[in-house]
């Protein structure tokens, strides 16, 4: 008796679940928007998507990748639109006929151990990087081709240095921004981070302090699209509602 009841229950459960899944599948495929991991983890991407959906009536699927992977996905057509912050990579797309719409910016920050062993406070980013290199102070690198990693490589490049030749003091995490910050916090290392992730999580990183930033560290976010159908999305980024949210998350909205 128990067994029979169980069987009836199990079968009806399976049918209900299959039905539910089928219903979930039958919807039209939403617009796939690819963005960077740091941008999604800041919470801003999710908030902006809400506004974009409300204003345009389009349904958006948000997928997070490093900037390198994001640009690759746009090229392949696996994503329809994107938000990235790696201008040199984005140029590859504009050459292929994509539209690039910069819509907000902030700065990359160098943060590091409270004692600041490299005495890098209030130097320019390039000078601070030189001090860290000369003293071989611990430095955490994202190492994941993300926009932050590209910026970091560009800063070493300005000094004529190649991170591939660095020794043990240079720690590659291949992890997201917050995880990398936590690693730097544990190890007492310097790290380059975007302003937004830092400001929103500094209370969880007691060993780290703001060290410096400068104009080389400008961090510009752009919306990328090719199909003219998605031009309405780029309009929505400049709406009052969107700009207000952008400010809440410590970014500066740009003029069209």
């Amino acid at each position: 008796m128990v067994k029979r009841l169980l069987r009836v229950f199990l079968v009806s459960f399976l049918i209900a679940m299959l039905g539910l899944t089928a219903a979930g599948c039958s919807n039209q495929r939403p617009v796939v928007m690819v963005t960077t991991t740091s941008f999604r983890d800041s919470g801003l991407a999710g908030a902006l998507v809400q506004v974009l959906q409300k204003q345009t009536g389009l349904k958006i699927s948000l997928v997070a990748q490093g900037s390198g992977a994001a640009v690759e996905m746009l090229k392949r057509g696996d994503a329809d639109v994107g938000i990235t912050h790696a201008p040199t990579l984005e140029m590859q797309l504009t050459h292929l006929g994509w539209h690039r719409v910069p819509f907000m910016q902030n700065y990359f920050y160098l943060v590091g151990p409270k004692q600041d062993p490299a005495r890098a406070k209030s130097l320019t980013l390039t000078e601070a990087f030189r001090r860290i290199y000369q003293g071989k102070f611990l430095f955490v690198s994202r190492g994941d081709q993300s926009g932050t990693h590209m910026m970091e490589k560009a800063l070493w490049g300005l000094l004529g240095l190649d991170p591939d030749t660095f020794g043990d003091w240079y720690i590659k995490t291949q992890a997201g921004m917050l995880t990398s910050l936590q690693i730097a916090n544990e190890k007492g290392a310097y790290i380059l981070t975007d302003q937004s992730t830092w400001l929103r999580n500094r209370d969880k990183l007691p060993q780290l302090d703001f060290i410096t930033t400068s104009t080389e560290g400008l961090n510009t976010y752009s919306f990328l699209y090719k199909d003219a159908r998605y031009a309405v999305l780029s309009e929505a980024f400049f709406s009052k509602e969107a700009q207000q949210i952008i400010r809440q998350f410590q970014f500066e909205p740009l003029e069209r």
């Binding site: 008796m1 128990v2 067994k3 169980l6 199990l10 459960f13 399976l14 679940m17 299959l18 539910l20 899944t21 979930g24 599948c25 495929r29 939403p30 796939v32 991991t37 983890d41 919470g43 999710g46 699927s61 948000l62 997928v63 997070a64 392949r76 057509g77 696996d78 997201g176 917050l178 995880t179 999580n201 969880k204």
Partner: protein
């Protein structure tokens, strides 16, 4: 969170059921189960993230099935989960098939030449629930394949497991732990079923 919970159970069930059914059909129709068994048993250990990569390449716009536009939808996710469950389901079904005693095998071949298939299926039927639950466990907590194929899109293709990873990355440990507890409960469903049904069977 309710959606993610039901979605996880739904896709896992769909993938495991189809894998188990296909495995039963396959195992009851081959004539040399032992040969097939070694092959599928070897494949059962395939790393999930590799399955994810395979599904990604398959459904990518540059891939052979790109025209379907399934990437980052629940369909691609279920495909990945199905492919992940299939070798295990096949190996278990084939093992059950090879466990058929020699004289039974001869009996079926001689007396039921036209109903061989049905006879083998009847023999396999008893193990289907336990096979289902083993594959269920293999898919349920998986992150790599689920993220690559489904994209872990919040409220659309994120599962309990991918959501735990995401919440941890956000530093929201409390939410991550709640999801973890939910996942644990879901992972215990099979054993509860198996215990209850064996209890029911012995009480009969």
């Amino acid at each position: 969170m309710a959606y993610t919970f039901l979605f996880t159970i739904g896709t896992t069930t769909a993938a495991a059921v189809s894998a188990v059914l296909l495995a039963a059909l396959y195992a009851s129709s081959v004539s040399q189960p032992r040969l097939h068994l070694s092959f599928w048993r070897a494949l059962s250990g395939i790393p999930p993230v590799l399955v994810g990569l395979l599904v990604y390449m398959l459904f990518s716009q540059a891939g052979p099935l790109g025209f379907l536009r399934w990437l980052f939808t629940p369909k691609a996710l279920i495909t990945a989960q199905f492919l992940l469950a299939l070798p295990t389901a096949l190996a278990l079904a084939l093992r059950e098939r090879t466990s058929l005693p020699r004289d039974m095998e001869d009996f079926i071949r001689v007396n039921l030449p036209n109903k061989k298939h049905q006879a083998y299926l009847a023999h396999l039927k008893g193990t289907l629930p336990s096979t289902f639950f083993v594959t269920w466990g293999r898919i349920l907590g998986e992150v790599g394949a689920a993220t690559l194929s489904g994209g872990a899109i919040e409220g659309y293709t994120s599962t309990l497991a991918t959501d735990i990873l995401y919440k941890t990355n956000l530093g929201q440990f409390k939410e991550a732990l709640v999801l973890g507890a939910l996942l644990l409960v879901v992972s215990l469903i099979p054993s509860v079923f198996l215990e209850l049904s064996s209890y029911g069977a012995s009480g009969h």
